[in-house]
Amino acid sequence: MRNIKDTGLIQEEPLIFELGRQGRRGYSLPRWDVKEAEPTDLIPSTLLREEWEGFPELSEVDVVRHFTRLSQWNYGVDSGFYPLGSCTMKYSPKVNEEVARWSGFAGVHPYQPEDLSQGILRLMYELEGFLAEITGMDHVSLQPAAGAHGELAGMMMIRAYLQARGERRKKVLVPDTAHGTNCSTSSIASYQMVEIKSNEKGVVGPEAVASEMDEEVAAIMVTNPNTLGLFEEHLKEIAEIVHRKGGFVYCDGANLNALMGIVKLGDLGVDVVHLNLHKTFSTPHGGGGPGAGPVAVKKGLAPYLPIPVVEKVGETYRLNEDRPQSIGKMKAFYGNFGVLLKAYAYILSMGSEGLRRVSEMAVLNANYLMKRLKGHYFLPYDRPCMHECVFTDRFQERFDVSTLDIAKRLIDYGFHPPTIYFPLVVKGAMMMEPTETESKQGLDRFIETMIEIAREAEENPELLRQAPQKVKVRRLDEVLAARKPKLKWTGEK
């Protein structure tokens, strides 16, 4: 094709708008047996769709090739090591996908009557039970469609509980190592955020919480393990401090992958926790969803759970919407069922011992990575980590090489870079989460590459500054993209 420049097998691909040719079609219709008429003769002009300049006209094979080529540019956890920290990106076993495609599940309709949906309702009821067991909580709502959505549901329940008691609390405590969503959730739930500084060991100290905790504080939002990959070891004590003044403990369960079968958050005094099924429970992650962020609560908050709630009455299951204290619906129907189904399949196929092993291996892999890279890269918090570890570019700074350069160089070696410049409390952070499924050989390959890059930084830093080289597009102009974003095709050259 004229406008495709071959660069080996990685081809330049024009926009689909640039591929079209007038009159090209992907279908053929049989000869008309009615008289041809102009739409303008039959339909009032106000209802007629405007002709649209530049709409691409393509054949079937054009379309298939275009999207196939684009899909080949993808790099995902199914193509290789993907150590992106802070957002567990783990391999999703294909059996979950297989199950989700069974016609009994795939063909289900949200308006199907309850007595024809007993299997579906039972599955949801049981999944709630599994998640309650794993977290040590009393009740679960599967409705929220994503982690932040689960957070909001949780904070709305806390607010509803306090309001029902006539309490007007104004503040929410959020540690500086929390996920960014925690701040926005508290603010959307109409609370003022108060930042808690973590201590020199990278965790929240009870004294820092005690000094900010008062009767104005509705809750603390803690991520455990936190975004430094460290276990919040004082959580139980912190929970006591917060409870004593009538506040709630919200736990962001995004990092549950480190804890399954080992720690029950409920036992640590957590009142509300959301889980990201698309992280810990191996449902596909990324690409904008769909996700699922169930929220689990202790008994006292149960009346406020979103409606409907799945209930078991005798041997039948039903959806109950008659719950006057509920915060209402968080989502049409009942959450992203297909995602729930995959998580259910994952939990059943792993079993309780399997899930514990997942967490053990995730933590072991991260510690192995941390131990072997220590010395080559600066480790700001030098202590055993959980499922992820955070390095910085401090050793490489003297060669005028930054975290960004290291990340770009990794691409030349065929690895997806780790999360960079996050968490914000660490300057030049590189946050790595290998997850449980990576073999020792896979980890070693990555580690040796990182060590090689550290050597290059010292001996030939230009290699890093010029990276990546073995890609279709090199360093993109991120500044221009952010300052003057072009979000859609306009036809302008």
């Binding site: 960004l404 410049y421 914000l424 991120e478 500044v479 952010a482 300052r483």
Partner: protein
Amino acid sequence: MNFPEDLLYTESHEWVRDEGSQVVIGLTDYAQRQLKDIVYVELPEIGSEFKKGESMGVVESVKTVADVFSPVTGKVIETNGALKEHPEWINTDPYGKGWITRMEVRDKEELKGLLSSRDYQGSLSEE
């Protein structure tokens, strides 16, 4: 890096120009270098009041997002609206075209708690 002698500084990397009952506020040369290319600036509303140390705005770079903390207690009387179109001015001219807000100071005594150019540079070497 350049830290004009006639300005006052905060440990959170804002500069303050004392203009009597008013002050002009921006980010230091050090801050803009650390943040790298700034792509977006969120300015406070005119008339809004801040206590010393409260977050009054946000700057976003390709690399990160940072709060701008109010170096004094007072009321915002003017903001540099041109930064919406030209966030890069904070990088290219941090003490001039890159100014962020002008505030009316509640208590001039508060300025005594800010750092001199020399003390600020001293605090940077500890980072």
